[in-house]
Amino acid sequence: MFSSELLAQTLIAGVMIGVIYALMALGITFIYSIVKMINWAMGEFYMIGSFVQYALVVYLLGPDLWWVAAPLSAATVFLLGMVIEPILIKPMFTQGIERRDDYATVVTIALLLLLRNLATALGGPYQRNPGSDLPTVMIGPLPESGARFAAFLCTLLALALFYLLLKRTWLGLALRAAAQSRIGVETAGIDILRLDQVAFGIGVALAAIAGALLAPVFFVFPTNGVVTTVKGFEIIVIGGLGSIPGALVAGILLGVVESLGTAFISSPYQNAYGFLLVLLILLIRPSGLFGERVRQA
């Protein structure tokens, strides 16, 4: 049953899927660190990303041009986020709302229900698959699904672009500063509400990239964001809320643990291994691997 080849394959599969999970967590953490709210509707943006990808691939571009469809799906969801934020999230700061956490929770859960039911009403509850013509890839002696491998590579590219945006651009500087002090950024002359809008758009676009890339792997249906959202939050508990390196490391860790558990213990429990990891982290380091114990001075 145990072989070093199986172990290697399992580890590689775990890292590959883990990086994609990390995209979800990154989106949640990123929005939290700027806008100071948790977006519970993240999985629905993943779902919309997968639907847009499906529509583009099946009706417009064809499966060969999936790599054109993916950034288009992300851009569509980015714009959707830019439209939704001023309507639902901005009032949190402009209407003198005192319990912002509660407000954000209620509003984003309402959004989650709306989007999920809208998707069911429009497209029905069916599972769709945009299909993928990508051939199986051999990593050394080990075969890996072409669609998964492509999703992995594209995720690395998306992460690199995200990193460059944060580290090398003026917008990135403003975003990094806003994550540390909203008031500091405002009094320096930056429109923080505008920055919130952009940050929300970027955060949901990260979820949409994951949805688009995983469309041929986990399929397209109105509730396909549920499992990935749960994984996103597991990663945040493991890595620490508000930490970008935490999201990446914890994402890979979760992917590897799930993969190992599935291969060597029992495959029906795939989604349970992550929870065991979460429980373990809560026991030994409740603030998460990269979390700060005190977040506010």
Partner: protein
Amino acid sequence: MAALLETAGLSKRFGGLVATNGVDVAIAAGEIRGLIGPNGAGKTTLVNLLTGLYAPDAGDIRLAGESIAGLSPHRIARKGLLRSFQVTRLFGNLSLLDNLLLPYLARGSGAVAEGLARARHFLDLTRLAPLAEAPAKSLSGGQRALLQVVCGFMVPELKCYVLDEPFAGINPVIKDRIIELILADNAERGTTFLIVSHEMTVMRRLCPKITVMIEGRVIAEGTLEEVAARRDVVEAYLGKTLA
């Protein structure tokens, strides 16, 4: 001469507490004005009103004749009214250079290269240059205060700079450096200052005119000697009965 920064009947209340009560202040262009008063006098509330962190309940604020009351903080900053904070609001994880670049680039115009040159100039001037790439959180308390004051000078359109306790808990060497920066900027481009401080020796050196606030009101204005000679000011500082 017309006032650069002027308030009329400026009031702010928090529940039953009137933090500022009909404050009228007029600061001339190019003036370095001091603002003193015992703890709880409403000095920081006034600063927060001036810079848009609070919206006034009543009254008006005019910058160069234009009302800025109720504008958002970033709009006020872009009109050239900047501030520093009593507890420094530096971005601890950003480098010194990035901390300085931020207010420069926030104006929406200006090239990164020019901003960098300007930042390096100020880092040399303040002798923080060796730490240019270090995160701001690695600085000492005094260095942080120094850096925060310089952040405002990074803005070419700076008209009026409101400094909230820039000298609190800082060693004399850095205190002198901050004083020199203020005087130099005032001399070179005629920047107007409003400085909140408890440091009377510094205030005597910097501010020809001082405004005294007590319990949300302006009760005196004049040179430090004049206001210090007033009985109500002395009583407020030394404390009368707590009734």
